[in-house]
């Protein structure tokens, strides 16, 4: 069984998903949703890794995806704890309210 779907298709899908993640990150005002946009971008990059791994016939790409997933899990745990703290201190999930560094 060869690679019936060209790798380019997977890469285009990966780029589109990454772009949608960037747009979501820029236009959402809820901290949790912005965090989800970051996860979407990580997923898009994972897809490119697996597609390249398949194209080159090497498994290293899948090992990197494994590590990305592990780091994403750790990041989600710490990030959601920080979001919990922000929500407790600011009593809001709106990113506009987190403006202590603004002049």
């Amino acid at each position: 069984m060869g690679l019936v779907v060209p790798v380019t298709y997977y890469l285009v899908l990966s780029a589109v998903l990454f772009g949608l993640g960037v747009v979501a990150f820029l236009f959402k005002r809820n901290i949790i949703t912005m965090f989800m946009a970051i996860e979407l971008m990580l997923n898009a990059v994972n897809l490119a890794f697996v597609a390249f791994s398949r194209m080159l016939g090497q498994l290293q790409g899948q090992v990197y995806v494994f590590f990305v997933i592990v780091v994403a899990a750790a990041e989600a745990a710490v990030g959601l704890a920080i979001i919990l703290l922000i929500a407790r201190n600011r009593e809001s999930l709106n990113i506009e309210r987190v403006d202590l560094l603004k002049l």
Binding site: V5, V7, A15, L40, I83
Partner: protein
Amino acid sequence: MTVELALFLVLAAMAVAGAVSLILQRHPIHSALSLIVVMVALAGLYLLLGAEFIAAVQIIVYAGAIMVLFIFVIMLLNAGQEERTSFSRMATYVGLPVSVLLLVQLAWWVAKGPVSAAPAASEPSSTRGLALLLFKDFLLPFELTSILILIAILGAIVLAKKEPV
């Protein structure tokens, strides 16, 4: 049109629709459910690419653990509808062009790149090869991730615990 191509198109449409829905939904819980759709579709694509282990991990860790954590926090904080605020002018006039530029650039590189559709010799079981790589060549990074996860657990507990009054 082969079965694989049809499957790819269906799963890709699912993933893109989920991502668009993540942007359009105003309630965080709906965005989270859209993201789960994207992740399940991506797991299907991994299966199509012959990466069974990654597909399983995608379902178990991403769609299972991480998204449950997200939904748990959304419910814990009782997050409601997103407030409509005016976008900052920075986001409208700089952010949008830059993200469009990024997309165009990515598309250009992908279209131009020397990507051939040359099929690689498909291995009967990629999971076995993955395990050999992970526990031989990548043993040190693999062990380091366990330390990373331990630190993340400790950090999450320290951050989220109640302040001693």
